[in-house]
Amino acid sequence: MKALKLFWIFFRVGVLGELAYPANFFLQLFESLLDLGTALGGLAVVFAYTQTLGGWKPDEVLALVGVFFLVGGVIRLIIQPSLERLIEAVGEGTLDFTLTKPADAQFLVSIQSVEIWRCTDIVLGAIVLGAALSRLGTRVGPGRAAVFAAALLAGLVIVYSFWLILATLSFWLVRVQNILVIFQSMYEAGRWPVGLYPRWLRFALRFLVPVAFATTVPAQALAGRLSASALGAEAVLAVFLFGAARLFWRLGLRRYAGASA
């Protein structure tokens, strides 16, 4: 409960800070629309020549695009800005100010910065998802929707944990910013079903840079092609990775304390 309240306060501060620059909203909306137009244009060109892509129907790939924007929006709204600020704070030694606060430090650094206008990606993603759902029609019942929600949540936890592990590397390494670029490049591959890719790339998108769990897997759930065992495996991975990220963060923090003493 306290965590939720804290989150709300940080969120509000982020909003208030940005409200002074309303023009940024329109610029961000314009950029998000361009990005969406690119994705839809790509689909249009591809599906002008085929009915299915690797077993995916056009509406199912449309749903995937919606998920891709939704998850990308969440990452850029809060995960990326917050953890980039963490890396900066570790480099400059200003993390001390966060550590002296009487709340869980991992939680604080994970919500410390909100780029509110990035919500345009989330809203557009939701709209695309809604459009895809209405076209998929009655095939998506409450059961399938619940599986989708669970897969999406697990995917977000996996992506967050992965980002935290990368950002925590900054306790040991200097130029972690560059490693984050790897995630951003690889995330782009999530626009298409990872089943299309050759085995080595699929492996990389699952276990080296876990993009697939946050994009393809939830979309598979909507299409009704996600088995219970696959969902279970994703949930286990999410719990495991979250625990691992927490342990790693503690380890890094100990090192930070040691260095500043």
Binding site: S185, M186, E188, A189
Partner: protein
Amino acid sequence: MTGLAGIYVQQFKTTLASFAQYRAAIFIWMIGHVLEPLVFMIVWSAVTLSRGGSVGGFGRGDFAAYFLVLMLVNHATYTWIMYEFEYRVRHGDLSFLLLRPLHPIHTDIVDNLSSKMLTLPLILVSAAVLAVLFKPVFHIRVWAAAAFLPALGLAFVVRFLVEWTLALAAFWTTRVGAINQGYYVAALFLSGQVAPLVLFPASVRAVAAVLPFRWMISFPAELLLGRLTPAQAAAGLAIQAGWLGLALLILKLVWRAGVRRFTAVGG
């Protein structure tokens, strides 16, 4: 002219040494350069499978060859000047560049070429690995291969001039992100990076013919892959030359207006 050549050599040594420190960063930035054409290669390869082997005259091996060559051309011609220039204007670094007796475009050309010297081995290795994995099919003719080099050179120069001019937008607004992205999206579709241009409707192809994008990226690739007749190739080279002159003219005009404006703001 020997003076300028000497400056180029000296500048080349300096930037090469300074970029060598950031090898890791440059290599990481390259992941996107390889991954983007790779993704479209795979997507189109899946489309050919569902269509029983061929789409608009492209088989799987043809798509592999197209996106492989496109990746190399794109890598040879790309610039990051639009992002760099915004930083320069915003942080005031441009003032120092303007104090030099040399036009800043020269150091930018050298910077661009030296970074590519460092990444060339890597992109060639990537291309070789992808060639082994995806088995491209080439139908290369000697005349087309000979015309490829001037076409690639012109593509590089035209793209450099166009993007350098566009980067000057930073003189008028610090919010160039939207402009850059609009340019990027247009280039993605109109320079054949999403799909070979012949797969687009005739209206899109007509637009691509009059805008510079095709002539900066996909034209050399189409030429090398033997998809153009000698007449089309000659016309393409002429259009590239035309864009070169036009881009140079616009660059001069915009640069003059921009510098005047920059002085006004800084003064």
